[in-house]
Amino acid sequence: MELNGAQIVVQSLIDEGVEYIFGYPGGAVLHLYDAIFQQKELKHILVRHEQGATHAADAYARATGKAGVVLVTSGPGATNAITGIATAYMDSIPMVVISGQVPSPVIGSDAFQEVDMIGISRPCVKHNFLVKDVTKIAETMKKAFHVAMTGRPGPVVIDVPKDITDPRIKVPYKYPRKVTMRSYNPAVLGHKGQIKKAVELLLSAQRPMIYSGGGVILGEASDELTEMTRLLGYPITNTLMGLGAFPATDPQFVGMLGMHGTYEANMGMHESDVLLAVGARFDDRVTGKLAEFCPHARIIHIDVDPASISKTVRVDVPIVGQVKPVLEHMIELIKDSKTKPSKKALEAWWEQIDKWRSIKCLEYDRNSPLIKPQYVIEQLYEVTKGNAYVTSDVGQHQMYAAQYYHFDKPRRWINSGGLGTMGFGLPAAIGVKLAFPDADVACVTGEASIQMCIQELSTALQYKTPVKIVNLNNRYMGMVRQWQEFSYESRYSHSYMDTIPDFVKLAEAYGHVGMYIDKPEDVRPALEEAFAMKDRTVFMDIITDRTENVYPMIESGKGHHDMKLRVALGTPTDRELA
């Protein structure tokens, strides 16, 4: 079959099994858009800003496990995509971004809409390719998907100069079924000896803790993690990225850990004697002060990326490999082992954990006449029966969603954990809704974050992606304000906006339903009404208590045992908890 470059790009995507491509046209990609126009299989989603395209594709990947695909033009199209590429990179999300480039002969001449995309994207991609030859397109596309999806996943950019897609130049096309790269062979199975050592250490624990991250979700290893954790009877905590990998409603789950983790999770980490880290990268928001991190623990770390091991925290038993096969192997060894976890030690450990739990660190004032953001998330959880896909932006609302929506399944919690990208939530919700049209999709956001990609409301109408926007409107950039309250004597420098749009009218102007909710008793009915409108995007502008803070909190530079709790709870003394 003979095709031109533009057709090869499109046909490669179809042959790769790509369903949606999120993009925005421009001069350098006109040939590509012409090829898209002349076929039916690949569905193009026209966004309103390239950042929206990257977040939608990224969330599509997070929810489905397939690579998200983006198409942008050269210059500003490419630079607008960078934030979304970096977002995917930090959370190891498989994504393939095709960027147009000025024609090869004028590269480097400061041509119109020229930017060095290979150079600009280099620090925030797993890899990138500049296609220099039309005969190399199919192979490069295959390589891009291979690199994006395998090992530790990540975004890959393919920069395609306009002349490479010239419709007049046709070459034979065959999409490679497989591709091998001599310089890229990610680990699969873990080292047997190390796995054996890990199991022995794990079974000898007196105060064990399992700490799992986004790698378990990316590695499709939730079932194995759950099986092993239940087999052992050990407590487990998830990172922000790992929520849903182990059912949050299971009694062995002690909540999220880290800066806004639960008291029991963080204290459990601090007091543990054996820590099993699975697909987690010891991020600073998780570890707190490194010198005080898990001072009594011997640490086992399973990760597909060798560079993640002993990067910030020195570990005792490193295992490089895909989480799924490593956990399968561990389960086998645990079942076969004559050594069983010490019942007595485990009972004492759970007794201690239950004491920490009894503080109820996530309790808040339920009698307030103002709407508490935590209450909204609890109601959202109930109304959606815990089955919704929840996307979020970044800030206090993100933490409330993580703390109060109990994710029992992987891939349901879609948020920008590593880069912390405001503006992620709405385009992400659109991406998820396209993947799962029958599922409830909620975007938990705030009045500051939502304005960063609000133009995508228009995309939501065009492609009929009825998502529910839960806008926790506290008239502040809540997390910034919270830090200013705690660390800057309440000098609220630029953490509020003097003018906030009328979101109800704005939603209506975009063709959607707007709701204004300012009384606690209206929250539940509004949510029920919104989710009952199956075919409409609903923007719920919920006026919340503007002084509310996220607790518990480990302030930066402090250790896990040094948490700031809600004042009403008091500071638990050692005597109370001993």
Binding site: G119, H127, L130, D305, K311
Partner: protein, 163 residues
């Protein structure tokens, strides 16, 4: 501690910038970097001299290995090896000191490869500290220009860095 990291990398445009970008983005030191194609045209050999604690060197090698274009890598400092650096040095000469400069160059096994009525260009290879010693042995005022390649190295014995 000083380490010499030797890399086989795909000989493609942008490969060098991936390595250099990694060092700057993560704040690692580069003392020197040399790169040239190997006998296999599709591969380049890169030698990086860097320094840092064991933890940092471990991260540097892991991060370099993670680059998709990096095919193979060794830390030469971990095993017996030889290293050499090339230096070209231009000095001012007078009728009085020409003999003396030549004698010093001879002692260091340097070669004079260009002569004018007022200058010498001396070529010298060796471990970096030998080149340092030669520079120290000359009168500073006389030195017009020094060009050094940065060290490159190879392991001793039958083992080698190849595919």
């Amino acid at each position: 501690m000083r380490h010499i990291i030797s890399i086989l990398i795909e000989n493609e445009s942008g490969a060098l910038s991936r390595v250099a970008g990694l060092f700057s983005a993560r704040g690692y030191n580069i003392e020197s970097l040399t790169v040239a194609p190997t006998e296999d045209e599709s591969l380049s050999r890169m030698t990086i001299v860097t320094c840092g604690s064991e933890e940092i060197i471990e991260q540097i090698t892991k991060q370099l290995n993670k680059l998709i274009d990096v095919v193979k890598l060794i830390d030469l400092a971990g095993a017996p090896h030889v290293e050499r650096e090339l230096m070209l040095l231009k000095v001012k000469t007078t009728d009085q000191d020409r003999g003396e400069i030549k004698r010093i160059a001879d002692i260091f096994r340097g070669r004079i490869i260009d002569v004018t009525s007022t200058t010498y260009v001396i070529e010298m290879t060796g471990p970096s500290d030998k080149l340092d010693a030669f520079i120290d042995a000359l009168d500073k005022e006389k030195i017009i220009e020094v060009v050094r390649s940065g060290p490159t190295g190879i392991s001793r014995g039958e083992k080698g860095l190849h595919l």
